[in-house]
């Protein structure tokens, strides 16, 4: 069951990472031309279209992560301590706090992205999206690193 949950957590996180990265690029570096290049297509998405998916995926990913965290606490975490992987250990400790801060900004993120978008709130939208992108990237990379040290099922 734990491996199934871990895979589901990883897949949800992967989709969330893609959505929030698209949105962040669309906010800060919107495509100005109609070039068919990969980079241009990456940032030519309408950022507002990702909001509900990001909120749902963030909550779902966090719930799944919160469930498998119990297994990490009595398994992988002890391995990190015994092996003195302090940087990975600390990064994972930071992850739990960083994703919690991400959860706290979700209501504001959702509000400032609701239609119709107001021009005077563009900076707030961009910053909330950027903070959320940082949260998601940190969670994804650190979760992956911790899993490499001692993944579930190993």
């Amino acid at each position: 069951m734990w491996i199934t949950l871990l895979i589901a957590h990883g897949l949800a996180a992967f989709m969330l990472l893609g959505a929030v990265t698209h949105q962040t690029l669309g906010v800060w570096l919107p495509a100005r031309t109609k070039s068919a290049s990969f980079l241009n297509r990456l940032r030519s998405v309408p950022p507002a279209s990702y909001v509900n998916a990001i909120v749902v995926l963030f909550v779902a990913t966090m719930i799944l992560g919160g469930i498998i965290y119990t297994n990490y606490r009595i398994g992988a975490r002890l391995t990190l301590e015994r092996g003195r992987f302090w940087k990975t250990f600390g990064a994972f400790e930071l992850k739990e706090h960083i994703v919690t801060i991400g959860l706290g900004i979700l209501p504001a993120y959702w509000y400032f992205w609701r239609a119709p978008l107001r021009e005077e709130q563009a900076r707030t939208r961009a910053m909330l999206t950027t903070v959320l992108a940082f949260v998601v990237w940190w969670g994804f990379v650190v979760g992956h690193l911790a899993n490499n040290v001692r993944g579930l099922g190993t």
């Binding site: 706090h97 706290g104 400032f112 707030t124």
Partner: protein, 112 residues
Amino acid sequence: MKISPSYAVFAITFAAAFSVAYVFAVEYNWALFTYAPATGTFAPLVTPAAVGPAMYWYGWIATAAIAAAPIAALASLVPESVAKRIWPGWSWAIPIAVLFAFGYLLRGYFLR
């Protein structure tokens, strides 16, 4: 969907208050409840586990949410003329400051 302007004040205040309440909950271990993963049992407030480690993270989140929700609800009652003057940037500036605070609090793991 029509959303009341007071929701903006609620959302801004909640983001800021939740972040601050959470960092205090972690630093002073104000967990609303404790979970013992080895036995799968919950206990109120900060309770050492009978077997294995105790997890406070869920309790810290609950504490922060319970602290922030009424603050945000009260803030959302301010008149619209006051609400318009509230800087929406508090919704991201304070959470960013709290992220730095956590980096500082946990710096020991990266300096070993």
